[in-house]
Amino acid sequence: MSFSWIFALIVGALILFGAIYLISQVSRTAEMSQSATSASELGAIFDSLESTQESAKTAEINFPLNSSIRNRCDNAGDFGTQKLAVEQFIKGEWTRSNLDVTYQNKYIFSKEITYGEDFLIFTKSLNYPYKVSNLVYLTSIDDKYCFKSPPRDVRSEIKDLSLYGRNIIFDDCTQETINICFRQNLDDCDSFVQYNQGYLVKGENTTYFENDAMLYGAIFSDIEVYECQMRRLVKRLQMLAKIHYDKAVSLAGICDVSTIGEINQLINLAQKYNDTSDLRNIDNLITTMESKNKYSRCRLW
């Protein structure tokens, strides 16, 4: 073989390797940008669900490929942060992306990692006693939930949200469904809900709730995510209480706000909040505040 042929082969091989390396780099960047785009588009969907007068709303999101949505909650700072990362299963592996989309004003209850192509998202307003936030619940359509003996309120709300038959069914449970039992002495339960006493048992963990908005959060998310989001919500509750307190003080010359003492107590209780077992202390105060505000001539909320 002549020297020119050998030279051409060597240089040609070098160029081929260089081109293949460049293509793989570009392809990896494109996959990461697709994941980041999906995560920020998910945020836009959450925004559209929240920009509504309705107290509850449902939407579905479909990805073209098998995807995972990673929910990271951090409660540091004034409001904590909500991080979302979307990864897609391409060419036999998950796209590894460190591109998290971060929000301070969203509270998403889901498993730490949710897998699937189609996801159901529904929102519900948390009023405690004033509106604190819209809560977002994210589940995969592949995760089938079965509620055993749910109370009437839960039953009718699930039907109103058009979730019944999509990934939630009642009583017709199987081995493959995630079974949520609302009565004692039921078999084959993944979680047990004591609705009137306000607690949910999942495995070895017990977590607490005071209304349906919190209950759905406890059902559809992992315990760690639920507890973290509740800490974030109590921080926002406290900040809103301070704003309401300042408003009450500014209205002193105009009308008497009957709940001003209770708001101050609420600020202190929220400051001491650790986990959902502290909700019981707050709840008694909330009930008093709701009643006083409702019948007040100078309503604060």
Partner: protein, 180 residues
């Protein structure tokens, strides 16, 4: 020998030229593909800002709730927002915007000063003012703003009687073009 060397040189130049050609094609394609990504990002930002304006009016920090007789759509509580103004540091990253303002539209409010139609709301002149910078604009540069009409309500007292007063206003959200 010289002929062989010439052939090597010709092959080398040909290979270099081909490589340069494909690199230019590749750069052109990458520019085309990733140029679309930048526009997509701006479109998502603009859509987010538009939805944010309608969300803001119903968010707990702004909404009237039932403080003014009954629940009203797109109603902002002026008394509450005046207190929110003092907490700009806490909310600096909360809504991911550059600034939030409220401007009264109707009825017209006049106040003392150089420009009677342009008076910033302070503790002294509240509620007889027509412009409130809820969160001051952080970056003074190019950016977008979106707005929506709202009902701006507050409590008042006259002759010992407490009343609710609601006026037409605009909620303006500013966000910068380039975010860090």
């Amino acid at each position: 020998m010289v002929k062989g060397q010439m052939k090597i040189q010709q092959t080398a130049f040909l290979l270099i030229a081909l490589t340069l050609f494909f690199v230019l094609v590749g750069l052109f394609v990458m520019g085309f593909v990733f140029g679309g990504l930048s526009e997509k990002k701006e479109a998502v930002q603009e859509e987010t800002a538009r939805l944010l304006v309608s969300r803001l009016a119903s968010s707990p920090e702004f909404t009237c709730g039932e403080s003014f007789s009954r629940e009203r759509g797109d109603c902002v509580d002026f008394d509450k927002v005046m207190q929110l103004r003092g907490r700009a540091k806490n909310y600096s990253l909360f809504w991911e915007v550059d600034g939030i303002e409220i401007r009264k539209i109707f009825p017209e409010t006049q106040c003392e000063g150089e420009n009677p139609y342009e008076c910033n709301c302070t503790i002294e002149n509240y509620p007889d003012c027509n412009y409130l910078e809820v969160f001051p604009t952080k970056t003074k540069g190019t950016g977008y703003d979106t707005s929506n009409f709202i009902l701006l309500c507050h409590k008042g007292k006259k002759d010992g009687i407490v009343y609710d007063k609601c006026e037409l206003a605009k909620l303006i959200v500013r966000y910068s073009e380039n975010e860090e």
